[in-house]
């Protein structure tokens, strides 16, 4: 149970993320380490709470992409200090996700934000980066045994390739859940392409990912 001192420090971490005060986050993260406080708790009850609050501000139309990026940087500044001291398993979701921007496309801000939101909720995320050929998605899903594959595209010319990737992955492993996102995409197109899910921004993507993972686990238990 976190005591008064812990709560005080975690609240500062949360505030540092929301106010994108990197100096505050770094200072407090170092204090956590110096005072031997539980780093895992600091991450999840401090930094991650901050990022969740930022997500909500984004959904409410108070924060936009510049603010998300700044908050993410503040969060990573703290995470980089604390991660060496994290013991034991991440108390969030247990799932493996694979993410990448499809071949021919290099717009990766959205993909990076989705990755961040998935990581803070506990997914182990494998990031293939951008301009990823279909075979790489298939091979990496197989190698990591990812429960969830997330495809991102910003252009009409590249998003059409998603249909093929989805077919290839499901051909090899029908249990994998696949979600797609990016500016030219819509729920209708996602359905047309055979995707299991769609999200219009990083915050919604995290919720969708959690939902798909639950469905995937249900299927596996019952098969």
């Amino acid at each position: 149970m976190p005591g008064k001192r812990e709560k005080e420090l975690f609240a500062k971490l949360k505030r540092g993320v929301i106010e994108f005060d990197e100096d505050l986050v770094k200072k407090v993260a170092l204090t956590v380490v110096d005072e031997g406080i539980d780093a895992t708790a600091a991450v999840f009850e401090g930094l991650v709470r901050g990022m969740e609050a930022v997500g909500e501000l984004y959904e409410q139309g108070e924060y936009f992409v510049p603010e998300l990026l700044m908050s993410a940087d503040a969060m990573y500044a703290g995470l980089n200090i604390l991660k060496a001291y994290i013991k034991g398993k991440n108390p969030g979701i247990s799932g493996v996700a694979l993410i990448g921007v499809v071949q021919g496309d290099v717009h990766d801000i959205g993909k990076n934000l989705v990755k961040l939101m998935l990581e803070i909720s506990g997914f182990e995320v494998h990031d293939l980066g951008s301009d990823v050929p279909p075979e790489a998605f298939v091979a990496e899903q197989f190698r990591t045994n990812a429960d969830l594959v997330c495809l991102s595209a910003m252009m009409t010319t590249t998003m059409v390739g998603m249909k093929d990737i989805i077919a290839k992955i499901k051909g090899k492993n029908p249990n994998v859940r696949i979600m797609i996102g990016g500016a030219p995409l819509t729920p209708e197109i996602a359905e047309k392409f055979g995707a299991d899910g769609y999200a219009e921004n990083a915050v919604k993507a995290q919720k969708e990912a959690v939902k798909l993972l639950a469905l995937s686990k249900e299927t596996r238990l019952s098969s």
């Binding site: 994108f20 139309g61 924060y63 936009f64 992409v65 510049p66 603010e67 990026l69 700044m70 940087d73 021919g104 496309d105 290099v106 801000i109 990076n112 252009m155 009409t156 010319t157 590249t158 998003m159 059409v160 500016a183 030219p184 995409l185 819509t186 209708e188 197109i189 047309k192």
Partner: protein, 366 residues
Amino acid sequence: MKAIKENSRSGDKMTPRERMAAFVSGGELDRLPFILHVGEHASRLIGVSVARYSHDPTLMAEAQCAVSRLYGPDSVGVGPGLFGIAEAMGAEIIFPEDGMPYLGRPVIHTESDLARLNPVNPYRDGRLSLYLEALKMIDARVGRQVPVSSSVGGPLTTAAALRGTENLLKDFYRRPEWVHRLLALVTESALNYIDAVAGLGLKTGISEPMASSSLISPAHFREFVAPYLKLYTKRIKKHSGSGPHLHICGDTRRIWQEMVETGAAAISLDEMVDLAAAKDAVGGRVVIAGNVRPVETMLLGNPSRVEAEVRECLRKAYDSPRGFIVCPGCALPLHTPAENVKAFAAAVRRYARCPIDPLLLEDSGC
């Protein structure tokens, strides 16, 4: 190569030039106008790769004249689009042989990078002179019947092409004065290009996709975009007597007033915007244009869906006080089927005939 058949102009009693002149002056129209935002898609009409199209003014002219012949929009033209000004200033643009060009690595990082940046010479830098050449040819061939114009990326989009989008958005907070200096430089470049286009007797429109609330706050729009857009529109107005067509894709609901205040004469809106709401908010101050869905309908739909959506757009905004122009919500995707674009044109010719019959536009519920 299949011969390009001339589009049936059934019912049209005016040339596009006559129609647009009447539209602007509030005169009588045979029908409402439509435009198509055709960039690289034009290369499909003459069977050349995008890379070849983008580097050859003769092919650009050929392709855009084919657009005019095949689809008959009320404006044609060509321009450096989203990246051309930035490219001329040193941005890295990658041209796949036959796909959309895209941005490479950011090229402006430090103070000294910024200090070395110069406003462009539109006759010499990058591929800008190719566009000026192409515009001359297009105007010579079709300019008597169709208004010809160019278009240029807005200040934020251009700055982002040089600095990298993610970097620039964070620079808003980390070094705002530096951002302003970069924006001032790209603005000067754009003004030089606008001047060169005006030298041909032509007008320039503006595309500023990065400025919508899908990406940045209205406050940041007011701080970092509006002041520079105003400089663009002021220059365009000085040459042509009227404000430009300003296209900002994405969700612009919260910045319509600001868009009007930049001095634009027409604002072009994306698919997620409710045209009726835009009409109510600013239709008394500017021309409204929009907003058939470019991906779902133009690219992935069929002629009957296209027709239904053109009707829906008309239903919502045909009576906008300062006028309404039908167009796709954003640039036509590269692989848009020609039959869908023809259906678009046919639908406008059928349903936007003046005086508009609202009964004809009613939702048939199918």
